[in-house]
């Protein structure tokens, strides 16, 4: 690392410490401003019910963003998350509705999903195709394996009589919906992995400088494969939450722009797409921001086009802020990086 790059890294580190000037801090402040604004303008915004509903609505997005952040920190990106989620869960549900015990069906679905993650990871790690192209290409491949080979119809109802699934989607513990608690648990586990395990620290090292990570003896390729497998499994878990929440799942989800909303949360929170920076706290801040924005826009009854416009504008601003806050590292960046 050159002296200049070192200074840059220290500079951004300093920014990270003082909350006020980091992107995360700015977004957090904006969230607070928006929250206060909506609370004053919209009479029923600041009720515990609405705040819980707001958090509940964005937990799915937040969990997906946690999964995504794992690869983004390692200087990757995974656009297959939603396809993986849909194919794994729909297949499991179909098997369960055809008579297999639900637990067993979920296990097979999990194996399939881990397999998808492994294939993506192997291509990124060994064929060294940039992750954005790999996953962009793999998303339709994965969905194409699901439909027509594993299922054909788009609407699938959850199997009847699975109490825990119903609890997951509709139940609450200590007055907090279980979905939010699952989000909190995933966030905690992810935080522990990223901060306190050798695996987690290696991801940061790889994201910061892949070449240096490899030269210093880190098993870069196996870690990459493990990353994509974990992301796939997080997506699968989110799929099960969606299944519980709507008592069913629709494979059309794979055609939505959900995965870009997930990226929006990740980038907004301040996890740079150039890798090696950020953590669980950033994802939570990003999730809160998007949640507040969506809830407010729904209550204001803005049209879909207006909402998409505002969302895209925010995404664009976040990307600009990201480029300014985390400039591309000329020493380590390569063709195909995002």
């Amino acid at each position: 690392m050159s002296v200049q790059a070192g200074e840059q890294a220290r500079g951004s580190q300093r920014k990270g410490v003082s909350l006020r000037f980091s992107q995360e801090g700015i977004v957090f402040l904006l969230t607070m401003l928006m929250f206060v604004g909506f609370s004053i303008l919209l009479p029923n915004f600041l009720t515990s019910g609405n705040v819980i509903a707001l958090m509940r609505s964005v937990s799915v997005l937040g969990m997906l963003a946690l999964g995504m952040s794992l690869v983004v920190i390692g200087r990757g990106v995974d656009l297959t998350m939603v396809s993986t989620l849909v194919v794994g869960v729909v297949w499991a549900v179909k098997m369960a509705n055809d008579g297999m015990p639900f637990g067993q069906a979920l296990f097979y679905g999990g194996l399939l999903v881990a397999g998808f993650g492994m294939v993506v990871g192997l291509i990124v790690a060994f064929a060294e195709i940039p992750p954005i192209f790999t996953t962009l290409a793999m998303a339709p491949v994965i969905f194409g394996i699901g439909n027509p080979f594993l299922f054909k119809q788009d609407t699938h109802n959850a199997p009847q009589g699975v109490t825990w699934l119903n609890e997951l989607g509709f139940g609450a513990s200590f007055g907090i919906p279980n979905t939010i608690l699952v989000f909190a648990a995933v966030a905690l586990v992810m935080h522990l992995i990223l901060r306190y395990t050798r695996f987690g620290r290696s991801i940061y090292a790889m994201g910061d400088n892949p070449a240096a990570a490899r030269l210093s003896g880190l098993p870069v390729r196996p870690i990459t494969v493990a990353q994509y497998m974990m992301t796939a499994l997080v997506a699968y878990l989110v799929g099960i939450v969606i299944l519980g929440s709507n008592s069913g799942i629709n494979s059309r989800l794979a055609y939505t722009t959900l995965v870009y909303d997930v990226l929006l949360v990740v980038v907004l929170g301040g996890i740079g797409l150039s890798g090696g920076r950020g953590g669980v706290r950033n994802v939570i801040v990003g999730t809160l921001f998007v949640g507040t924005l969506l809830s407010g826009m729904t209550i204001l009854n803005l049209s879909l086009t207006a909402q998409n416009f505002i969302k895209s504008l925010v995404m664009l601003l976040a990307l600009i802020a990201d480029t300014v806050a985390n400039p591309r590292d000329e020493q380590t960046s390569q063709q195909g990086d995002i």
Binding site: A53, Q153, D154, G169, I242, S251, R252, T298
Partner: protein
């Protein structure tokens, strides 16, 4: 006397026998000409995506009749992409089949191509979504009617004495989709006819995603705890509406209306109380009507575009009280 009876009996018998013989001959002749008129012909089927209950059901009907009568139905699946559909249609026009069965993704996408096909002498049946360009036939749901039925039911319920309020929320799919627009205009007209006492407090689009529908509905319920009813535009998405209402513990108060082609998954939701009212444009009936049209188009020697037939299938309402095992159907995925 006896003889007279006998005579009459014999005469009657003879006339019946003669009638039967004549009828047999007659029906054979028409059957032969029917079969020879359709046999070996080629139909190209371009739906929106071979995943929805509607499309799969229509396909099952089309294929069954084709097998019975000895013509072929080729499926070109554009998988939700209007561009892919346009390519498939362009290619189909080049191949000159006897008939194209087409589901428009919107009113514009295939308008010009339909004109071109008609000029090339290929007949087109449009399914469930009309294009700006009319072709030989349209068969499908009466979208305006679906919205109107929903509007009437909601107006009746929310202006009644026991209603929690006159507030209604609407969850659409994509606001520019004609299916949504037609349903909404029928819905608004029905509210208007009922005296205009109903207030639409929220009209949001969920983009056909049940999770989004759930998030929107729970926000709206927070904002309007006295909400009377929610109208959803498509059953696959509206599962989320039912879930949000259920979670809020307001299933008794909030009246949820949805519509769809009648797959069993939706009747299950009526049974478990997620939907209070389900307006069904029965895909089986549409499939039958489609087959009748296909058979008649293949037989007819008329020029393409010389006549424009429209058939709207009937909508009927499924509620918990009217629900029977035959209300919905299970799609046979292997067909």
């Amino acid at each position: 006397m006896k003889l007279k009876h006998l005579m009459a009996g014999a005469l009657a018998l003879a006339s019946v026998a003669g009638g039967v013989a004549a009828q047999q001959e007659l029906s054979n002749a028409s059957r032969d000409s029917y079969l020879s008129a359709v046999e070996g012909k080629r139909v190209v089927y371009i739906p929106m995506s071979m995943t929805t209950d509607l499309v799969l059901t229509w396909n099952a009907f089309l294929q069954r009749q084709a097998d019975e009568l000895g013509y072929t139905v080729d499926v070109r699946d554009p998988n939700w992409s209007a561009e892919a559909g346009a390519r498939a249609l362009t290619q189909a026009i080049g191949e000159k089949p006897d008939l194209i069965v087409l589901q428009n993704p919107d009113v514009q996408a295939y308008a010009r191509l339909i004109q071109r096909a008609t000029k090339a002498g290929i007949k087109i049946i449009q399914l469930n979504m009309e294009s700006l360009t009319q072709s030989d036939a349209y068969v499908g749901a009466d979208w305006y009617g679906v919205g109107h039925t929903a509007g009437e039911a909601i107006a009746a319920r929310c202006s009644a004495d026991g209603a929690s309020s006159n507030k209604v929320a609407v969850v659409t799919g994509v606001p520019t989709a004609p299916v949504d627009l037609f349903q909404m205009s029928g819905f608004r007209a029905a509210l208007e006819e009922a005296g205009g006492g109903i207030e639409i407090v929220s009209e949001q689009s969920a983009g056909y995603d049940p999770s989004k529908a759930r998030a929107i509905t729970s926000s709206v319920l927070q904002q309007n705890p006295d909400l009377c009813a929610v109208f959803g535009i498509w059953d696959g998405q509206d599962a989320g509406i039912g879930a949000a209402v259920k979670e809020a513990g307001m299933a008794e108060q909030v009246f949820v209306v949805s519509s769809g082609g009648g797959a069993q998954t939706s009747c299950d939701r009526v049974a478990d109380g997620s939907f209070d009212m389900f307006i069904e444009y029965d895909a089986r009936m549409q499939g039958q009507a489609l087959n009748t049209l296909v058979a008649s188009m293949l037989q007819s020697g008329r020029e393409a575009g010389s006549e424009k037939i429209v058939y709207y299938g009937p909508n009927y309402v499924v509620t918990k009280d009217s629900l029977t095992p035959a209300s919905c159907f299970t799609v046979d995925e292997d067909q």
